[in-house]
Amino acid sequence: MIRFENVTKVYDQTARPALDAVNLEIDRGEFAFLVGASGSGKSTFLRLVLKEDRASSGAVYVAGQNVAKISSWRVPRLRRGIGVVFQDFRLLPQKNVFANVAFAMQVIGRSRSVIRDTVPEVLKTVGLEGKEHRMPHELSGGEQQRVAIARAVVNRPGILLADEPTGNLDPTTSMGIMGILDKINQNGTTVVMATHDDDIVNEMRKRVVELKNGVVIRDEAKALYTSMIPVVGQSRRLKDASGRETPDEAPGESGAQR
C-alpha cells in the first residue's frame, strides 16, 4: 500500500538528510507503528506519503502509484484515499461535532443525503453517538480526537496516517483511541501511526518501524516500543522527556537488543 524505494529527503543541503535512503513497504491492511526520537524522520515520512513534500531522490509509491508522477491537480484524489489524524486534533472551533465530520464530505462534493446517513454511522464507530451537536470546546481531549478520527475516516480512505494521535491524552484515554484505530484497521484500512508512546506500542504488539536520524534501524513484526528499559513508576511526561533528551545515544543500544 505504501512503498518507499531508497527515499532520501534533504531539507537543507548543509544538514544531514531528514530521511536517508529509506526502503520500506507497508502492506494493505497492515498496522504499523513508526517510532523514534523527535527529528528522526517520522513526520517527513508521513509528509512524503501525502505528497506535501517531494522526495529529494528515490520513489514513494502510494496505492501502487508513484506520487512524484501525480500531477498537482490530481493530488486531491491521492489525499482522498488517505485519512490523517494529528496530535492537536485540528477541529474547526465554530462547528459542532456533526459539522466537523460533515465538512470533510462537503468539500469533496458529497450530497447532503449521503452526509446525513454516513456521519452518524461513523460517529457511532468512534463512540460519539448522541454528541453530534456538541461544540469542540465542550468535549474532552479524547472525545475531540475521536471526532478527528471520524473526520479522517468518513470518506473511507484506504490509508490512515496518525501523527502522535495520543500525544495529548492520558493513558486510559489513549487506549480507547487505540481501540478505535484497531477497529478501523480490522475493517481493512492500512494504519500508520507515528508515536512516542511506548505503553501503547507494547500493548498493541504490532509491526514497529524505528527511525533514527533518518535511517530505519529496526523493522519488526509484533514488536515492543524499543530496546529502552521501561521506566516503571515514573510519570509519562518524564519518560517522554527522557526519550527526547537521548537522541545522541549510541545506535548500538537499539541494535544490541534487536
Binding site: W73, P76, F103, N155
Partner: protein
C-alpha cells in the same frame, strides 16, 4: 451541494472581513467611476462631433460699419463686391470644394443669435447692425478649409474667414485632455484597488488557514479551496462597479439631462440610457481586476 458549500464559505468570508470588503467596494467604486467618466467624455465628444460636423461651416464674414480689419478699410461691403464673391463661389474653381453655400444677411444673423442665446440677457443689447453679414459655406471635405481661406481672405469686402470646425476642435481637445486626466486618476486608483484586493484575500486566507488546511488534507480540489476566496474579491469588486455605473447614470440623468441641458439647450448631451452601455464594461473590468489579483495572491499564499 458543492455549490451551496462554496456559497456558504463566501458568505462567512465576507462577514468575517466586513471592513476590508467595504474598502474594496469603495476603492473599485471610485476607480471605476473615473474610468466611466473618461468613457462618458469620449461618448460626449463623439456625440458632439456627430451633431456639429454636419452643421459646421466655413463662414466668410463681410465688412460692416464697425469692422476694424485692414481689409475693410474701404468701408462696409458694397453690393458689387458681394456679387463678385457670389460669382466666385459659383465658379468651378471654388465650386469643386463646396457642397453649397448660403448668404446670411444681418437680419438673419440677428435672428439666429436671438435663438441661440434666448436664455441670455445679451440678446437685448444686440442690434442687427452690430452683426456682420456672411456667406456660409458647407465644405465637401472640411480638411480643404485652407483653400477657401486663401481664396477669400484677400477679396475686397471680406473681413475674415472662420472655420467653425477649428473652434470645435479646440473644445474637443479640452475634453480629450479631461478624459486623459480621468484615465490617469483611474489608473492610480486601479493599482490601489488591485493591491487592496490582494491584501484582503491574503487576510481572508490567513484567517481561514485552519479550514483550508483541513480541506487540503481531506482532498478538496483546488477549485473548492480557492474559489470562495476569488469570488469574495470578485463580488466586492462587482458591487463597486455597480455603484460606479449607477453614479454615472445619475450624473447623465440629473446633471447633464436636467441641469446642463437647460443651460445649453442647443448642445446635444449624451442621454442617461447611453451611459448604460458603459455598465457591462465596468462590471467586467471590476470582476477581471479582482479575479486576476486574487488568483495571483492565492498562488503565493494558499498552496494546494
Amino acid at each position: 451541494m458543492r455549490l451551496a458549500f462554496i456559497l456558504s464559505e463566501i458568505g462567512s468570508g465576507l462577514r468575517r472581513n466586513v471592513s476590508m470588503v467595504v474598502s474594496v467596494i469603495l476603492v473599485t467604486f471610485v476607480s471605476l467611476t473615473f474610468v466611466g467618466a473618461a468613457g462618458m467624455l469620449q461618448m460626449q465628444i463623439n456625440q458632439m462631433k456627430g451633431y456639429w460636423y454636419d452643421k459646421v461651416q466655413v463662414a466668410v464674414f463681410l465688412c460692416s460699419d464697425g469692422s476694424t480689419a485692414a481689409s475693410c478699410a474701404g468701408g462696409p461691403v458694397t453690393p458689387e463686391q458681394q456679387d463678385s464673391l457670389n460669382t466666385l463661389l459659383e465658379s468651378p474653381a471654388v465650386g469643386q470644394y463646396i457642397n453649397d453655400f448660403a448668404f446670411e444677411s444681418r437680419e438673419e444673423a440677428y435672428d439666429h443669435f436671438k435663438n441661440q442665446f434666448s436664455n441670455s440677457p445679451i440678446v437685448d443689447s444686440v442690434t442687427p447692425d452690430q452683426l456682420p453679414a456672411s456667406f456660409r459655406i458647407n465644405m465637401k471635405d472640411p480638411e480643404k478649409y485652407q483653400i477657401i481661406s486663401e481664396t477669400f481672405s484677400s477679396q475686397a469686402g471680406v473681413e475674415t474667414v472662420i472655420d467653425q470646425r477649428q473652434l470645435l476642435e479646440r473644445l474637443f481637445s479640452v475634453m480629450n485632455g479631461a478624459s486623459l486626466v480621468a484615465v490617469s486618476i483611474a489608473g492610480v486608483m486601479i493599482v490601489c484597488a488591485i493591491l487592496l484586493i490582494a491584501t484582503t484575500i491574503r487576510l481572508s486566507a490567513f484567517s481561514r488557514r485552519r479550514e483550508t488546511g483541513i480541506m487540503r488534507l481531506v482532498g478538496a480540489s483546488k477549485t473548492v479551496i480557492q474559489l470562495p476566496f476569488i469570488l469574495e474579491g470578485v463580488i466586492a469588486a462587482v458591487i463597486g462597479a455597480a455603484l460606479a455605473s449607477a453614479t454615472l447614470w445619475a450624473v447623465a440623468r440629473f446633471f447633464l439631462g436636467d441641469f446642463m441641458a437647460q443651460q445649453y439647450p442647443d448642445t446635444a448631451f449624451i442621454s442617461a440610457g447611453q451611459t448604460l452601455i458603459l455598465a457591462p464594461a465596468l462590471l467586467l473590468l471590476g470582476a477581471c481586476l479582482a479575479g486576476i489579483s486574487s488568483l495571483l495572491t492565492l498562488r503565493r499564499y494558499l498552496r494546494v
